[in-house]
Symmetry: C2
Subunit: 328 residues, 2 copies
């Protein structure tokens, strides 16, 4: 079964012009007289013609495709991020080649495919990237932009929340309230987000002479739920729990509820992300709002800047705390 693609040549014949002219009509900025443009457009319409992006990409070396690699499909935060990227990139004329990485680390294999399709950049959200791969990408002049993650050893662009700053702010809030019995549930400990949040939080409080008990989670609801439940059964009931992200906080919250702990009177809860669910009345979670829109905008800025391959940028944005019903 042969596919009948209409080429510029056929349009040219119908419109009685050269194929170059047809091409010009479909190239923004090229000079064509109004008259011929009309002729060509009519012919194209009649034949149902559209330019072939592959051929164009082959010759211009501009594919307008951006590779996006995600891992934690489970966290609603990243769905929102995906939606934003898709929408905002399209506004700039870019398309998203999406890869969902199952493995902890992005595989050579997956990067190769991105390379084969000549993506103009690779955006990595929560997946890990080995320095080998980053090196290979640099060799191929493909800029890598880490989203919401940051790795000093990896020489690539990065856009994230200022997690240390945010966590310090939260710590300050907690301190102001006079809490002494404080728990932090981590995310995956090999992520910069979890580490930085833990760091900002504990260091600030230590500076005030207040200790924080650490519970090691993994950024899932389930793990956090079990952890908190176990903690309660072991006889601990902190005054406040800070979860490394919202679903972590939500898991803790549900465990607390199951044990009939009053929130926030007996135990207050704070999350991080402000996913949509956190504003649901049943949760009404107090949390740190990541400035997702601006973060996505910054990534796109890097993408569009001409010097993207030369220097690596590290951008950190602030965000703000939102007080809902899980804190007093």
């Amino acid at each position: 079964m042969v596919k009948k693609v209409v080429s510029a040549m056929q349009v040219a014949k119908l419109a009685n012009v050269s194929q170059s002219t047809v091409s010009r009509v479909f190239t923004p900025g090229a000079s064509v007289s109004e008259k011929t443009r009309k002729k060509v457009l009519e012919a194209a319409e009649k034949l149902n013609y559209y330019p072939n992006a592959l051929a164009r990409g082959l010759i211009t070396k501009k594919t307008n495709i951006v590779g996006l690699a995600m891992k934690d499909i489970q966290n609603p935060f990243y769905h929102e991020v995906l939606g934003l990227f898709s929408k905002k990139l399209r506004e700039k004329g870019y398309f998203v080649l999406f890869v969902y990485t199952e493995n902890e680390e992005i595989q050579q294999d997956e990067i190769n495919h991105f390379l084969e399709y000549n993506v103009e950049a690779i955006i990595v959200t929560d997946a890990l990237l080995s320095s080998n791969l980053v090196e290979q990408l640099r060799k191929n002049d493909i800029p890598v932009i880490l989203f919401n993650r940051y790795e000093k050893s990896l020489q690539c662009n990065s856009v994230s929340s200022d997690n240390v700053y945010a966590a310090r702010k939260i710590a300050d809030y907690v301190y102001q309230k006079g809490y002494k019995d404080i728990f932090f549930i981590t995310g995956k400990t090999n992520t910069s987000t979890s580490r930085d949040r833990q760091k900002g939080f504990t260091e600030f409080l230590k500076g005030k002479g207040v200790n924080v008990t650490i519970l090691e989670g993994d950024y899932t609801y389930e793990k956090s739920f079990c952890l908190t439940k176990q903690m309660l059964e072991d006889g601990y009931k902190p005054e406040v729990i800070f979860g490394a992200n919202d679903i972590t906080a939500l898991g803790a919250m549900d465990a607390l509820k199951e044990k009939n702990v009053r929130i926030p009177e007996e135990t207050a809860i704070i999350g991080f992300d402000d996913i949509r669910m956190s504003s649901w009345p049943n949760y009404a979670l107090s949390t740190w709002v990541q400035p997702v829109e601006e973060m996505v905008d910054e990534v796109i800025n890097i993408l569009l800047s001409s010097d993207k391959r030369e220097k690596q940028r590290t951008i950190k944005l602030k965000g703000h705390f939102i007080h809902r019903k899980t804190t007093i």
Copy 2:
């Protein structure tokens, strides 16, 4: 800044063979002697060569790219679906060009881009497609596969749950329990999923002489929450509520909880989808499990079948009810 792409030509020179031979080494099934293959592979490795998928796609007319259009980024169900598609398509050597449609209907514009990139098929989950567009796609021999939606007027492939069947089963369950005061909260009424679920549910019960009160929702948590709250404030308290999907059911559930209605003793709740959250202890929602994996597999089957352009297939799969804590 010029991008230094390594072409097969350069590999050929280094390996002392023709460019055709290099190409053959990278074409599965082509005949090359073990000796030359080794030589070429070594040279390729040294030069960091990978074949250009664009050039290959241009000549073979096989891009291995599939367009995926989604709308309701809000519903976790579709995130799970996205993850599955990405994973399973990659196993078959396909890539996902992802488009998040903001508009109610997929725009010409978006389809054009899919066409320009020569996608081999378009998978549409919850976005709407005009018959005009479908017609245009047929003209261009691009198969369209509707996922979890079904439109008789649109002549395209479709894979979905058998929503009428499922809703009848749920109705039967509700009937067996002896409930008489029954509410159904719809999804977006212009979707086949919501219509079919409503149909199967109400028709079965009507056959038994039981009436169902319909509340018009829109597949969001928020709408369903408000609706249910209003209903309670108006003095209604049904024995059971069936939500057209899980987040609808969850919204209703939270409203019920806010009004201190005991679940399931006073009011039972049933959802549809079995999103991950529904199994969270705080919700433990009884719901219909869509056979997502099989659904995705079926879509891929259609994609891979050679006759995909000739005949349109409509596939409906069953799934099953899962009893958790919101029903007795």
